[in-house]
Symmetry: C2
């Protein structure tokens, strides 16, 4: 159901009170009082939908701020929509809470969602709250719209295409490491891990422009391997062109590119474009999308992903699917 | 994401192998290989969407058959769609698994889904698999279609309307009790709890016919209170007309109506219809929907739900929201 009928009756009113304002402006959410939500894609548009779960102790830590947890749960889903060229519209929230969760935690969680709703122009459309004897678990199902036939898929990369990636790579992985090892400082990297920035504007701008795209969550090379596999092509990446932040170099050193390209949670967009759009895509990214992008390689006939290092020695990285280095 | 990229790489291929066949016939599922699924409602239709989580130890028991768990997780969602008059089309599956779950369990789980996909004509469209240090948790987000403007809401009941419910009430609650107390026998009641029957045909037949509807999950009276509250009306139920199964009477006795009407998990549809459609709705239920329905009361001006017992003594049951008896 999408009404927030908690199984713990005493909390029904409180939970409804916390979440109802998040759905107020969404007519299809029916005030979170019905069994289901109603979604009407605008004429000529299709619906793009994705779901992701975050589990306490796996995807976030018990003492992470509740607002950050909420934002991360929403953003990892929005990032999937961005990579498909979709305009995010709304989401459903399935929340499993231990009996020990207090209302202050829930208030901060709802506040985090509220802030991100304004930032990304999305609205809560419904959900479900359940008890759990285990860790907190958050499943968000986000949806958005694309003009008919315009969703950017993983399978459209063609030999001759160029490979781009947004932002910088490896920051989140380094941030997670700094958190786990209780290393002081490195606030930028930690924030890149805790509150990723889904590239919504870039995704929309890539419609009709990118031949294939996905969001980088498993690690740049592992994710490019998905494009290579599903498109039936080979992807060559120039190690020296992978964009690394100053903050990452400060922590991991200048020689960290393989590590950066194989660590996860970047939530950047990796994409391919026909080579005659090289200038146009750079112009659009800089202008309409105000997002930095970097050309990092090319699509050729064959299969798998290779990382080319400066001395032109080939490092065979992945053939298909996920492989550790 | 909707591709089944397990975080446990060694299982990637196995999980993909198990779930990919469930999405094979859904073009929008993109073979479970993309970041998101694509849904295009038929022209003139809107999308109805709902989400529900089942947690091990809360909504099912660790030693319940995996196929039954899968079916229940899907059916509680389908039941929400049915009550809204929607034709079910597909679902996303977010599955959190402890590291101890074995592949035989997963195989049986996928088989349960596969059987229900055929039974209810729905297809897997995507999902997410994560590890959890806690209990198994299953969040399904199901979607379906209704002709524009035809979704049956909770808020449309009007004074003068008649109140109906499908099937029989209380069976699931009694089944759960029999399971918990390790009472032998009572297979029918236990099955009513373990594998509810969403009333898909009835829901579709009630489009343009019912003024309000919902699926009975919290308990008949508690759920009718939602209709009363959101419609701004009072609902009077005749205790003697609430349909009870022989099997329920055998376990709980002939005098169990209040208990039956306040136990949960029935997944029947409770609905209201204008009184001039009394004959027509019975005809349609019997014919097109082949589902038994029973007239159990009426909508009047006022608020709350009352249960009228034979000697006409009023039992004030609920005013608003959920209240225990």
């Amino acid at each position: 159901m999408t009404s927030f009928n908690s199984e713990r009756p005493s909390e029904f009113a409180l939970i409804a009170e916390l979440f109802a304002p998040l759905a107020k402006s969404a007519p299809g959410a029916l005030g979170l009082t019905d069994d289901a939500a109603l979604i009407a894609p605008p004429p000529g548009y299709e619906l793009v939908i994705t779901t992701d779960t975050l589990v306490e102790g796996v995807h976030f830590l018990a003492d992470d701020p509740a607002a950050s947890i909420a934002k991360k749960a929403l953003r990892v889903n929005l990032s999937d929509l961005a990579a498909k060229g979709a305009e995010a519209a709304g989401y459903l929230l399935a929340l499993s809470l231990p009996r020990t969760v207090d209302m202050n935690w829930l208030r901060a969680f709802a506040k985090g969602l509220s802030e991100d709703q304004r930032l990304f122009d999305v609205l809560l459309h419904g959900g479900d709250t359940t008890s759990t004897p285990g860790p907190i678990s958050i499943t968000i199902t986000a949806f958005g719209f694309v003009p008919q036939g315009m969703m950017i898929r993983r399978g459209g990369a063609k030999p001759g295409n160029l490979v781009f990636v947004s932002g910088t790579i490896g920051d989140a992985g380094a941030g997670l490491e700094a958190i786990k090892t209780k290393t002081e400082g490195h606030a930028y990297l930690k924030e890149r891990y805790g509150e990723p920035s889904p590239r919504m504007k870039l995704g929309r701008a890539l419609r009709g422009m990118a031949s294939a795209a996905l969001d980088v969550s498993d690690g740049l090379l592992a994710d490019l391997a998905h494009i290579a596999e599903i498109s039936g092509v080979r992807i060559e990446i120039d190690a020296s062109r992978i964009p690394l932040s100053q903050e990452l170099r400060a922590l991991w050193g200048d020689d960290c590119v393989v590590r950066a390209a194989s660590s996860g949670d970047d939530y950047e967009i990796a994409f391919t474009v026909p080579d005659n759009r090289q200038g146009l895509v750079k112009e659009i990214a800089k202008g309409r999308a105000s997002t930095s992008i970097t050309e990092i390689g090319r699509v050729v006939a064959g299969q798998g992903v290779v990382l080319l290092v400066e001395n032109a020695r080939e490092i065979p990285v992945l053939r298909a699917g996920y492989t550790h280095f």
